[in-house]
């Protein structure tokens, strides 16, 4: 029962949303439209639940005085502070909530991804070796694309830009499309297996 009910719900919701695409009847579309709004509401709760899990995790760390538990206090404190700021001042521009987002969250998030540039440069230098013909081709394609992104090279040597566009529109596009077909067919198979209850990984179990 504990597994059968969710599997039946998965089957019916999957079948409905899958089949509705082929049914133009206006009442089906009405139910579909409301169903989409239901999905949006449920999606919102997944995020709130994820935050709940985060709070429980850090509370446990503080309670058990795990190494670095002081940092968990920082996380919990700032989480509550941000929620309080949002609840008290709203989310309008100029509110404390908005200022915290623009001046604390946004810069840190951007910087965390920005430091990847250093690591990609260091990794390219250390690991990007022309060990075989295929690796050489990959290396040459990458160098060519990077050269075409250099402003003055693209401007004064337009043939390099034309050739890089050809590389992107023909061999790259062919490879991407081949991978796209493979990904779609895999997605289709997995979606059908999930709807039919063959794939049950989402329930924490196998077949």
């Amino acid at each position: 029962m504990k597994r059968r009910v969710p599997l039946l719900i998965c089957l019916f919701s999957g079948l409905f949303f899958g089949i509705q695409f082929f049914v133009p009847h206006h009442q089906v579309r009405q139910v579909y439209s409301n169903g989409l709004r239901w999905l949006i509401v449920v999606a919102a709760f997944t995020i709130i639940m994820a935050v709940g899990s985060l709070i429980v995790h850090h509370l446990r760390r503080v309670h058990r005085r795990t190494k670095g538990w002081g940092y968990s206090l920082v996380t919990l404190g700032t989480l509550l502070g941000m929620v309080a700021a949002g609840a008290a001042t709203g989310i309008r521009p100029g509110s404390l909530f908005n200022k915290l987002f623009l001046n604390v969250q946004a810069p840190m998030q951007a910087t965390m991804f920005g430091i990847l540039a250093f690591y990609i440069a260091s990794a390219s230098y250390r690991a990007f070796r022309a060990r075989s013909k295929e690796a050489t081709l990959l290396l040459l394609a990458a160098i060519f694309l990077m050269l075409s992104a250099v402003s003055f090279i693209g401007y004064y040597f337009p043939r390099i830009t034309t050739l890089s566009e050809w590389l992107l529109m023909v061999p790259n596009m062919a490879a991407q499309r081949g991978i796209l077909f493979g990904v779609y067919l895999g997605t289709l198979a997995t979606s059908i297996k999930i709807i039919l209850g063959i794939e049950r990984g989402w329930m924490g179990g196998g077949r």
């Binding site: 449920v42 709070i55 929620v83 840190m108 951007a110 990458a142 081949g178 493979g182």
Partner: protein
Amino acid sequence: MTIPDTLWTWIAALLTLAILSFLYKDNPFYKFAEHLFVGISAGYWVILEYNNSVFPNLIVPIFKEHNYWFIIPGLLGLLFFARFIPKLGFLIFIPIAFYIGGYAGLAIGPSLQARLLKQLQGSMLAPPDFADPGLLVNKLLVLTGILGTMLYFYFSKEHKGVLKAVSNIGIWFIMVGFGAAFGYTVMARASLLIGRIQFLLMDWLHLIR
């Protein structure tokens, strides 16, 4: 610029430098900034989800518009929190089932149209292609590349003979594709760093206008 705005800029700059300090090595400033970021982001998500998703799509329909059908997704959403009650933990699978089944079903039709049929259509040779030799050669190359790529990832049969030859051609196309992806990835990561340095030099230190 008013004093409070300057103070905010300094906060943003110091936190940026705290994150950048990780390049030298892991340190307490970085750890503090990292945990601060996690807390602030989580708080931000909660408020935003409530204001923009839960309130207009759940609270308003039920309490203002009296559309009581929306109690169902509300209850489904609340079932997520059953995870925290050990004896009722299994109830979380009900909203997950609705969510996963729904999205799996939604993906089938439009993806079939956009990812398979349209892309197959784009790969085929049409009569107008034969009028332009350059276009014809490109399209034949694309067709060869697609077949080679797909056969390279076909592992149900051992790669021997013709299959091996075609999948080897596929490898060449895949290498160009990955090389292009790598080149663009370098551009993307570099752009992110440039954005941060621009902030430090322009908005914080005013060294560039």
